[in-house]
Amino acid sequence: MRSTTRAHALCRPDSRARTVVEVQGLEKHYGPSQVVRGISFSVREGELFGLLGSNGAGKTTTVEILQGLRQADGGSVAVLGLNPRVAGDRLRRVIGAQLQDASLPERMRVGEALRLFASLHPSPRRLDELADEWQLADLWRRPFGALSGGERQRLFVALALVGRPELVFLDELTQSLDPLSRRRTWDVVRRVRDTGTTVVLVTHDVEEAERLCDRIVVMHEGRVVADGTPPAIVSALGGATTVSFTDPDLDIRRLPDLPGVDSVTRRGTRVDVVGTGPILAHVGARLVDLDRPPLDLRAHQPTLEDRFVDLVKETSR
């Protein structure tokens, strides 16, 4: 566990890292409907970057444009220094991709798929190593149609990595997986990032984005509504902290003067102190000063999911 954490720390990108994806004012229409509305963001080398949004937010369209699978109607895009619109085939040979709702022929065997995809790259991974790494060796002769959901996802990730890509796109990787397979797949994504590959993870799952991503862009109705690390997004949006404890006899007028406190409310024996900044520390210190240290002092901070829901509601108005 310790080594994994260290590996994460080693691979975490810093602000001096090279930009591998640059998107400026990207627009896309499907007929009269505008699905991407002038979005801008960038992805740095070595980052596990999340594109988070509800269904229909424009995430998949955006990454399909980044891979040159769709053409933008406006704005500019550079991926590994290439314009996907004019160098799509060249670009797709140096990136890896796991696509939402993509598939393989039902009767194509695991080994056949790996061999075919490996043949497209100038310096592919050794297939025996790759198969071992993603637990595909025992499935080598099994047709794609006979694979379980988790086995298919492992195969798709292996196919995305077979060409030793610098950058890999993973679109709704854990969709329709059971909780156990989902956790395993998260480990898989961390392992990909730990090898130094830049990962763009597209997801509608807030927990997934929060647990995995170094940085996220939140999209809603074709727009970017937030951009930053998950904790930064939570705090930048002014999330209030609620400190709660039980004390039936405390005079709550002793608390509102503490720094950062906005309100103090008694609900029966429970006291809720709402505010910003390090109010847990201030409330705890005051209660100790009053010689009334509580046994159940707790702080509740808004989660990324709370913030995501708030953002979606705000931008939908």
Binding site: R92, A118, L120, S123, L159
Partner: protein, 265 residues
């Protein structure tokens, strides 16, 4: 659980040139089709059985209703065209539409398989399937009823290649236009059956009504079968203008490319 140990390749595959990739993909697709019994039935089984029945019913005696040739020769040679029609109207479009519907085409494109490589692979696959199927039908007919050698082998080859191009292009156009494998199967059969019956695979032209004849005149299959019969047997009552299937091939190819580009946008 029993673990199956399979020897894995330990050599790194070398990067392939586009032509090699197209051949490799076509070879793989051929293996996949060989695992689909339904494809063999629709592509070879139906034409082979039909030609054996029709040739058997009408016999091997030269007949004026069949432009003065043996009905068995008339049908056996003509069914080379029927095989190509089945390929272009059913096999290719069903496969292409199913691939697009399931996301296989996107998966391939996202992995660096370029559009031209996939098109080249389809052409190779179509050519191999068409040739093998046509050879099997000819072999079955010749074994059962005998078959004279072609009077104009170069002409037969030219007509065969024109027919192959025409129906591979039609298959590409239908496969890119139709939204799903089921739709491709339904529309393909709807097109194939009348084209097969009126285009030279069914009753001889002499017994058709004038409306049937008019319809037959515009079908590319009529011209392909007429041309094959003319080149192989030296005579035919069917229309046989070589430019017609070639023109249909060009229009179908443009339609396929236009649709593919529109979908990609």
């Amino acid at each position: 659980m029993t673990a199956v140990t399979v020897p894995l390749p330990d050599a790194r595959p070398t990067p392939a040139a586009p032509a090699r990739t197209a051949i490799r993909l076509a070879a793989l697709e051929l293996r996949l089709l060989a695992r689909e019994p339904a494809v063999a039935v629709s592509l070879v089984g139906f034409p082979a059985i039909t030609v054996l029945v029709l040739a058997g019913v009408f016999g091997e005696t030269p007949d004026p209703d069949f432009a003065g040739v043996a009905p068995s020769d008339h049908y056996i040679v003509g069914y080379v065209g029927v095989v190509l029609a089945a390929l272009g109207l059913i096999t290719i479009p069903v496969r292409l539409a199913t691939y697009r519907e399931l996301g296989v085409t996107r998966r391939f494109r996202a992995s660096g398989l370029s559009g031209p490589v996939m098109i080249a692979s389809e052409i190779i696959l179509g050519a191999v399937l068409g040739t093998v199927s046509a050879a099997l039908v000819l072999a079955a007919g010749a074994a059962a009823y005998g078959l004279s050698l072609p009077k104009d082998p170069i002409g037969v080859l030219a007509w065969y290649l024109a027919g192959l191009a025409c129906f591979i292009a039609i298959g590409g156009a239908l496969g890119s236009l139709l939204p799903t494998g089921r739709a491709a199967s339904a529309i393909g059969n709807l097109l194939f059956v009348p084209m097969f019956l009126l285009g030279g695979g069914g009753p001889p032209r002499d017994v058709m009504t004038s409306t049937m004849e008019s319809l037959s005149d515009v079908l590319p299959l009529s011209h392909l079968i007429g041309g094959l019969r003319q080149a192989w047997l030296g005579t035919t009552d069917d229309p046989h203008a070589l430019w017609w299937p070639v023109l249909v091939a060009i229009v179908a190819l443009l339609a396929a490319l236009h649709t593919a580009r529109r979908r990609a946008g």
